[in-house]
Subunit: 291 residues, 2 copies
């Protein structure tokens, strides 16, 4: 019997729903806005009722409960997004769709998709946008223990020209998300990031923080590749700034297993499709495939 795989990429502003075939090709893919849970999940269910799949995987914004032993397994937990706290995505979907379902973070799903696409054994995926998040895989396993990673909230050192900036993370102030995610740009300059000129020195400050995230992750995980998704890093000048500062900060302490250009990279899956591909593979794994 031919199998079809479903992907739900549940984001804070939109849900991306997709159906893939056994070769993990996208057969259909739509976006719907993230409104109330009732509305958005009803639309999600309709999509998969009209487009039945054999198994599906959900990659969700978080924090989420990924512990299968927990009574709230499948939930978004403490999100500041109104209406979505303590919503059990998995339970709601399972009530209506009697198929195997996987549940992980959006960045884990993206990391998995990049792993499948590139064939790397160990890989980290970061998204740098309104927030900063990261997911890592090693030998097919997600990195995580009592819960999933929350890599965007790590502490790093301040840029010499940014010593007094307190950061904008409501929890930590000057963690990486507080210092380098989109809203930090506007907090410093009064100008939204997309309106800042490409030669503004603010980009070097932001790149300094993102480079430290890459250095710390290199030292913690020694991954074969670090992939940067999200709007900020879609600007090629940013990738180059991050690579340059990464080299200076790592200071030759460890030898990478490939060229820097191939180590700090944009996603190999095009059109923001990393999570979709990752979800297809995770859904296929539920049916004893091995991606």
């Amino acid at each position: 019997m031919t199998e079809l795989y479903g992907s739900i990429e549940a984001g804070g502003t939109k849900f991306v729903l997709a159906v893939g075939d056994e070769q993990l090709n996208v057969l259909k893919r739509i976006q719907i806005p993230t409104e109330t849970p009732e509305k958005t999940l009803a639309a999600t269910l309709s999509f998969f009722q009209e487009n039945p799949v054999t198994a599906l995987s959900i990659g969700s914004f978080g924090p989420i409960d990924i512990n299968p032993e927990s009574p709230t397994y499948g939930s978004i937990t403490t999100t500041p997004k109104a209406g979505w706290g303590n919503i059990n995505l998995l339970e709601i979907l399972k009530k209506e769709l009697s198929i195997p379902m996987a549940f992980t973070t959006d960045v884990n799903a993206s990391a998995y998709g990049e792993m499948v696409k590139t064939g790397q054994k160990s890989l980290i995926y970061f998204t740098i946008g309104t927030g900063i998040g990261g997911g890592a895989v090693q030998n097919g396993q997600f990195i995580g223990g009592f819960s999933h990673a929350e890599m965007g909230h790590q502490y790093v050192k301040h840029h010499p020209k940014d010593l007094d900036f307190a950061g904008v993370c409501p929890y930590h102030g000057d963690c990486i998300e507080g210092l380098a995610a989109g809203p930090s740009l506007e907090a410093r300059t009064g100008i939204r990031g997309e309106n800042l000129p490409a030669d503004s020195e603010i980009w070097d400050i932001q790149a300094f923080y993102i480079a430290q995230l890459a250095v710390n992750s290199t030292l913690a995980f020694a991954p074969e590749k670090i992939v940067f998704g999200g709007g900020v890093m879609a600007q090629e000048h940013m990738m180059e700034r991050v690579r340059k500062q990464f080299s200076q900060l790592l200071a030759g302490y460890v030898q990478l297993s490939c060229d820097l250009q191939d180590y700090l990279v944009r996603p190999a899956v095009l059109e923001n499709g990393s999570a979709t591909l990752g979800n297809f593979a995770l859904a296929a794994n539920l049916l004893k495939r091995k991606y």
Copy 2:
């Protein structure tokens, strides 16, 4: 047939050699000083010729080459320790001892020993002493990809009272090792750490950095436990300082799976025996045991 397991904990100042039984109990354990590779490895070989074992494991100071596909697999690579650079420990030992041997970092061996002792599925072991190092296990696998972790060289933010201290790491200046390992204390105060009074505010500064290492590792790995070995953390006032600052810095962002007192802990294996136990277990695994 009864099996015996060997452990070599190869440190920069001493080698600890041990023999264990099938229950991983220590039957014999000696220390020898780390002198020239010729002298120390000859003494190591003598020990295991007099005390034959079925398999052994080496946990070494580093950086080391742990990639079995590499031509220099088994080597200490770029250590500043005179005479020990590019010494292939594994090759030298294998020439004389025809038994299965495992090879990893000293901190990985310690992490493994703590995992075996405590039964945790995911755990990080840090040593805070002359240097700072860390090893992590998750579901029986070491964290690492193209090489092993080098967690002690990550960047963190400066303490408000320590903004101008440049750090003493020869590679990075103000990475964690440069800011918080033993030599940083003397560099700041002119007084060796062991002679500083317990009420010196320098300990809070050091604890601030170690707490950030714990916060960043919590966010990157979500481990079930973080274990602190090494001389600095043997002082109970330090564990308490680190716990207090960890709580403030994490700011309730993730919920630990246990009490803080049980999360940030001293080694469960007494008398600096974590690496020895870990090596016994890793040696046993070579013979198809499953620790």
